[in-house]
């Protein structure tokens, strides 16, 4: 079985890791030895792409000058390429949903749409496509270090990411040619890395302050079960915002038209980030930036910096308070506090977190690497190691449907353990109505317009009947990735209804397929070949699994099942050696279908087996 890799797709840095025996191990760049890959993507006008240090090197050359004139930051794309930083802040969002400071950073197309598209010369890129480049670079890194091929991955996401942001992350994986086996929440991943060896037990708070996002998760760890009690956060709050406070200081005296000029802003940002880091060990530092005409030089003390970011830290602690409230706990009830994310190196953050929880936070694991390590641990669990470990995560935001008057009716409450499902009965309002429209939203507000639109779908076609007679049962299921799946059933006939879901965040399967085609390098196999390989892998996987199940659980087979399964398996085994992709795909589905009752019986047996382990006196 192919290795599953763990990936931290971070706002500022990205990492790839795997399990090396009992321990997770981050794969460093084969040449430089750097475990971190800066999440910086340089998009050149000729369509070539560079990621990481190379992109940073290219940055000064992809500048915005047109006919010798300096252009305002809105034209950063222009005809000269673009260097995109912190693309994670744009994932799964429409133009109107971006943080104000992110809205003018780059040149965009379709700003009012549900998907932000970056304009670079004559090309456009979605955030998922840009993130896919980072994933591809990580994949190459693992290949170069001899750990490849990278096919299956676990990717971490902020716990507070909504459904659209999670989908965008999965899409990025797909665009990079990867199978995203699971999305894992970052704080939960970090707790796995910490809890791995210690016979950890108790309540843990994970405070995760990254480049662009903040998460706080409260977990209960007991005998290898990592159970999230509550989570809260802010997907627009991070180290980038601390940098910006210093950028404002640097550029403060400049006239407006110079302040927005791209490479002035860039220089200021670079110095701001470096100064912030220096202030973690020095009491004061000089901000020095060379600008056209003069040099800016300002002294800033740590105390002054702390003043500037105090509000930001307060916002994070407010979120901590809310999470504890949802968990029904007080700060003193927490047994351990874990710090995650480079921004937690700022002394003010450490001090305030220690004050809030009344104990010294743990930071023995590198805060930049701990999430990737946790992702690798989860990858290990998915591959079958550590049968005692189990992750029980939660949905971070309430999910509901729009009812009369634009009111949000909550179906699934925030912090509900996932997977979870809820059934709702729908019917028609007028005679002979052929379809029912359902609008699903995510959020905590009373009105749907204040919540995030997740999807709209039509139930039907419904048989013509008087109003109120049809009964369509819709199941809203949130899977282990925190993503919504919708199925519908006509209650009367038991037949599955077709549900045509239009995800509100906007990328359809067709668009993704098109992007996949566009993304092909000349050196790679052509698309058909890649899809053939994928479907052959599916076939191999299902045949191996079925054989194992037949060997172990053969006694659970009934009627003519064995004959039917053997027949399809035999035909599939032949077909997968051929080139007929469609035929292989169809047979994989047939085999799936034929083995479903058998699989369900094995599952029921697993539940029953777990219960039988409990002796009679336990269950009283």
């Amino acid at each position: 079985m192919s290795t599953i890799f763990g990936i931290d797709l971070g706002t500022t840095n990205s990492l790839i890791a795997i399990m090396d025996g009992e321990d997770p191990c981050v794969i460093a760049d084969a040449e430089t030895g750097d475990p971190l890959l800066p999440s910086v993507v340089a998009l050149s006008p000729d369509g070539s792409v560079n990621v990481g240090e190379r992109a940073i090197e290219l940055e000064p050359h992809l500048i915005v000058e047109r006919d010798g004139q300096v252009c305002p930051v809105g034209f950063a794309g222009g005809e000269y390429g673009a260097v995109v930083r912190s693309v994670k802040r744009y994932m799964g969002l429409g133009g109107a949903e971006l943080a104000p400071e992110d809205q003018h950073r780059y040149s965009f197309v379709d700003f009012t749409g549900s998907v932000v598209r970056f304009r670079v010369g004559s090309r456009t890129y979605t955030p998922s496509q840009i993130s896919a480049e980072i994933l591809r670079a990580l994949k190459n890194r693992a290949d170069a270090a001899g750990f490849g091929p990278v096919e299956k991955v676990v990717i971490t996401v902020p716990a507070y990411f909504n459904d659209g942001q999670r989908q965008a992350t999965k899409d990025a994986g797909r665009l990079a040619g990867l199978e995203v086996v699971r999305l894992v929440n970052e704080p939960t991943a970090a707790s796995l890395a910490y809890g791995l060896h210690k016979q950890a037990s108790g309540r843990v708070a994970v405070y995760d302050l990254g480049g662009g996002t903040f998460d706080i998760s409260i977990l209960s760890i007991k005998e290898g079960i990592f159970e999230v009690l509550a989570t809260n956060g802010d997907t627009h709050l991070g180290g980038d915002d601390m940098d910006r406070a210093l950028v404002d200081l640097i550029l403060g005296d400049l006239p407006d038209e110079l302040r927005v000029e791209r490479h002035i802003w860039n220089s200021a940002r670079r110095e701001a980030e470096a100064a912030k880091k220096r202030l973690s060990s020095a009491e004061a530092t000089d901000l020095v930036v060379d600008l056209p005409g003069h040099t800016v030089s300002k002294r800033v003390t740590r105390a002054e910096f702390e003043n500037m970011v105090d509000g930001l830290v307060n916002r994070t602690l407010e979120r901590c308070r809310l999470a504890l409230k949802d968990a029904g706990l007080k700060p003193a009830d927490v047994d351990a506090v874990v710090l995650v994310g480079g921004s937690t190196r700022v002394p003010l953050v450490r001090r305030r977190v220690e004050e809030f929880f009344g104990r010294k936070p743990l930071c023995s694991l590198d805060p930049d690497q701990v999430v990737a390590m946790g992702a690798a641990v989860q990858a290990g669990v998915l591959m079958g190691s550590r049968r005692d470990m189990l992750l029980l995560d939660v949905v971070p935001l309430s999910l509901g449907i729009e009812t009369m008057g634009g009111v949000m009716e909550r179906l699934i409450h925030r912090n509900t353990t996932i997977p979870t499902s809820v059934k709702e009965m729908f019917t028609t309002a007028v005679d002979n109505q052929t379809h029912v429209d359902v609008h699903v939203v995510q959020g905590e507000r009373e009105l749907t317009r204040d919540c995030r639109s997740l999807a709209r779908f039509k139930l039907g076609p419904i048989e013509m009947q008087p109003a109120g007679l049809p009964r369509i049962e819709v199941t809203f299921l949130i899977d282990a990735n925190g993503i919504l799946n919708v199925t519908a059933r006509d209650e009367r006939t038991g037949r599955e209804h077709s549900v045509d879901v239009k995800p509100s965040y906007g990328l359809t399967d067709e668009e993704i397929e098109r992007m996949l085609e566009e993304a092909l390098d000349s050196g790679e196999d052509d698309l058909n070949q890649r899809l053939l390989v994928q479907v052959r892998n599916d076939a191999e996987q299902i045949l191996a699994a079925i054989n194992k199940q037949l060997a172990e659980y053969g006694y659970l087979l009934e009627g003519g099942e064995r004959a039917r399964i053997d027949d399809i398996a035999g035909r599939l085994d032949m077909a997968r050696r051929g080139e007929d992709r469609a035929a292989i795909g169809t047979m994989v589905e047939e085999l799936n279908e034929a083995s479903t009752p058998f699989a369900q019986r094995i599952m029921d047996g697993a539940i029953k087996g777990a219960l039988e382990k409990k002796s009679v006196e336990d269950v009283s």
């Binding site: 499902s421 085999l591 479903t596 599952m603 777990a610």
Partner: protein
């Protein structure tokens, strides 16, 4: 035992028919999923232990590399498991669910304000309205208003604790079947209704007091 609507095979309740694979109408009830008898009194430690044990075996993470049919089944079963645990863990949702299982669904009249609480509900709403409309600048008046509300909050908590105690007793009696079943069930509904109203009152009070607590 349930009968499959498709092939008529009689079997223990399960998700899919063991004979023909069709979905069975009677779903496993939450007690059944966790292997527990339909008793109202539960040891929460044991419940958590069972939940974790089953979870370890059926969670989708266990089947990440299996074919889709197995993954689907595991996803459905685990969603049912987490739902069962959530409902049974809280005595109030447990009580309501138990009533439903026994065909004693709460009716509209069951949900009306219990007579004994009617006056209390009215008084508390009045006090909250007073607080909302009070002149924030009149510090003396504000302090005494907030103080009165805080006392009220404490009193409500005492009532709630008493009600929960009554609930536990009611559970025990129903489990032992000691007493007239009809009246015990009537009691159960009444206590559940009382707890629901007290809960709403406490929530409303907490919401109004919060700005004063934070300062």
């Amino acid at each position: 035992m349930v009968q499959c609507p498709s092939c008529a095979r009689r079997q223990e309740p399960r998700l899919l028919c063991s004979n023909c694979g069709a979905p069975l109408p009677a779903e496993l009830d939450y007690f059944g999923v966790l292997g527990l008898p339909r008793k109202l009194t539960l040891d929460l430690q044991r419940l958590e232990s069972i939940y974790h044990e089953i979870g370890r075996r059926v969670h989708p993470d266990r089947f990440a590399t299996q074919p889709e049919a197995v993954r689907e089944a595991s996803l459905r079963s685990t969603a049912l498991l987490t739902q069962s645990y959530r409902i049974l863990r809280d005595p109030i949702s447990r009580g309501r669910y138990w009533l439903e299982l026994h065909g004693e669904k709460l009716t509209e009249s069951d949900k009306r304000v219990p007579a004994e609480l009617a006056e209390l509900v009215f008084e508390v709403q009045e006090e909250l309205a007073q607080l909302r409309e009070a002149d924030r600048n009149n510090r003396k008046a504000m302090t005494s208003l907030v103080s009165a509300i805080r006392e009220r909050r404490q009193a409500l908590q005492v009532s709630m604790d008493e009600a929960r105690g009554a609930l536990a007793e009611n559970f025990a009696k129903l489990d032992r079947q000691s007493g007239d079943r009809a009246s015990l069930i009537g009691n159960l509904k009444a206590v559940l209704s009382k707890i629901a109203y007290l809960g709403t009152l406490i929530r409303d009070v907490d919401r109004e007091i919060e700005p004063f607590d934070a300062s």
